[in-house]
Symmetry: C2
């Protein structure tokens, strides 16, 4: 093998997906290692709709580690990013020790370039996709033999929920018991093709910056909520088991009940925080009431709302009920961005609004600024589309 030319640039690129939890992560038992107080479970959403695209490159000609997002230079010196890079370089060193002829990439500076195809912040889980893409791209660049679960341990240190974006389908993050976090890992509960009919409609209620960042908010909850410990110790463990079963059984009614209850339980703990944290607003609450009315009018659970640390609603439903669920929201807010394109066109017009929803319908019409139609999807995809 020829000695690498001094100017040679090594590259690897990946797409990584967003995930939206149905059993929520909130609270850390170790803030440095991002070790959570409870396990969580999410649905990985399709990268055709929401994704981070990241190219990691290294060269002995680079003089500094750099990171850019959507064209803007980012601070790469933060402890979170540094922890990920340190761990990845260590694994590369292990590879280089085993294969003496391998190029010495671990010693080279990294240039990392990322682009999101969706608006950053406002509760769209951009940090999860971002850190998953960073870790996956560098792991590919370094030809690491690590599995997605191995890499989840690293991505978790960048952003807790990022560990769940390294896999597709239905993904759990086991909180683990070890102090060093070695058993706080993500695993696949079921691949996307186990239950591919799962769709998600995101109602973007606001692109404003959020009230309290989730990093700060969750530790305020741990410190001050009198209810949170009960959630973490008693409520979530039972729900994790029940949710895994619902997914294995493809039982949408059980999935929906657990998803809605856990979202409300999580926001209840936020409200019980001192000072209280409010992520849901009047538009969020109108979305809750509309989902309840849809389920009531069809006399079964055909849709399930969930809210992350922001006012946007994510509404899960099965493909069979697209016209009943997405169609109802298209009737209401068909004029906003997001309905254009194949997915939006496939949703039939003319859905009848459930009875008694005139007031919440008005709130939704005024308060929703865009929608995103998506569904369960696969894990990170390698691409040859290099950003640098």
């Amino acid at each position: 093998m020829a000695e690498p030319n001094n100017r040679e640039v090594y590259r690897a690129s990946t797409y990584a997906p967003v995930n939206i939890a149905v059993i929520k992560y909130w609270g850390k038992r170790n803030t440095t290692l991002n070790l959570p107080t409870n396990s969580s479970l999410s649905v990985t959403l399709s990268q055709d709709d929401l994704r981070t695209h990241t190219t990691a490159s290294c060269s002995s000609s680079f003089t500094d580690d750099t990171l850019s997002l959507n064209g803007s230079p980012q601070d790469i010196s933060g402890a979170r990013t540094q922890a990920c890079l340190r761990e990845l370089r260590q694994l590369r060193k292990d590879v280089e020790a085993q294969e003496p002829q391998a190029p010495k990439l671990a010693d080279m500076k990294l240039q990392i370039v990322s682009e999101n195809n969706f608006p950053t912040a406002a509760g769209l889980a951009s940090s999860a996709a971002g850190f998953a893409a960073l870790v996956r791209a560098v792991a590919d660049l370094y030809h690491l033999p690590a599995s997605p679960t191995d890499l989840s341990r690293i991505a978790r240190q960048g952003s807790g929920s990022a560990c769940r974006s390294l896999m597709g389908g239905y993904v759990a993050w086991e909180k683990g018991k070890q102090d060093d976090g070695s058993d706080s890992l993500a695993y696949e509960v079921a691949p996307a093709n186990h239950w591919p009919e799962m769709k998600a409609l995101v109602l973007v209620a606001s692109a404003e910056k959020k009230d309290v960042s989730s990093t700060a908010g969750m530790q305020q909850t741990v410190a001050s909520s009198t209810l949170f410990e009960h959630r973490a110790k008693e409520v979530v463990p039972k729900r994790m088991k029940a949710m895994e079963k619902a997914i294995h059984d493809r039982d949408f009614a059980a999935f929906a009940t657990l998803t809605m209850k856990d979202s409300n339980n999580f926001h209840a703990c936020n409200l019980d925080t001192d000072p209280p944290i409010f992520y849901m607003n009047d538009v969020s609450r109108a979305a809750v009431r509309m989902c309840e009315a849809i389920n009531f009018s069809y006399d079964r659970l055909i849709c399930a709302y969930t809210f992350d640390a922001g006012p946007n609603a994510v509404i899960y439903y099965l493909d069979d009920h697209e016209n009943e669920v997405a169609g109802t929201f298209k009737e209401l807010v068909g004029g906003v961005k997001g309905w254009e394109g194949k997915r939006g066109a496939a949703v039939k017009d003319g859905a009848k609004l459930p009875e008694g929803t005139e007031v919440v319908a008005e709130i939704l019409k005024k308060g929703i600024s865009r929608v995103i139609l998506t569904g369960v999807g696969d894990g990170p995809r390698r691409t040859e589309d290099q950003l640098c």
Copy 2:
């Protein structure tokens, strides 16, 4: 003593106050007897500002028990009202048995006429004042020797929180342990003159009918919230003791902390109910943020918000800080009803809004329709002003 003339009408009239809890009542262990799952504690508000005026009359010429409120006939056949009347008549029979010459009022039909000096419904505790006035007026009509605590056992069966409106000042309702409710009684923690500086500003956010009635809502919470039991068993008992101490010590900072935390804890349990119950709206949340900003800007706790089963904020503060607290809200919503009159005129104009509150200030300006300025007050007052 002359035989009473067949047409003689016996009358007694009373004013009874509203109370606003600082440790909230929510959830019943016995819905027939209105036995609560946890103790609660409230401040009785001044009858100069908020009161029910009730005249109870009886005569052997009356053919039916009747009840009217604000000029409209009310259904008196409900189990709650009937339970109160049955208990009161029983106590009158005991009096008549002891005093054979006393007129046989227990056998006569009752006419009860009530008027509120404030808008009914929308979380202004009208049922508490209403049942307290009914019980107090009939007890006076019947010359019962019962103490306010004895009567609280009866009023509780009409509306749980009514038991706390039979006394002035700072009043606790001990949940009790007996199945028959004989020890589920209200008692005075401290009279109004122990801490007469306590003021309250009510921000009326909406006079719309509420989402879910509190009677229905609390039992949904008991049945479905995973957090509620922890509130009832663990959180409230500690707070009751701490709140009694705060009141005895006239420690406003402790009073404020407990009041705000308990309001948030109560609404958290509502949010954790299946389906979730939302009483607070965006206007309520803006009131929370404005109170936090006022406290922050004075670097101490000078005001405390609390929300009952509706969006209205009740803000407690001490007289010394009237210009800082009520003055801030007067700057914002000085144009709405409620600032006219002596109390409103006493609040100085020109308070400076805390920094960074522009957004919540706009929400409050749009969302508050009236205010009520009041403060701690005494218990029911007998009056010779007869309504019938």
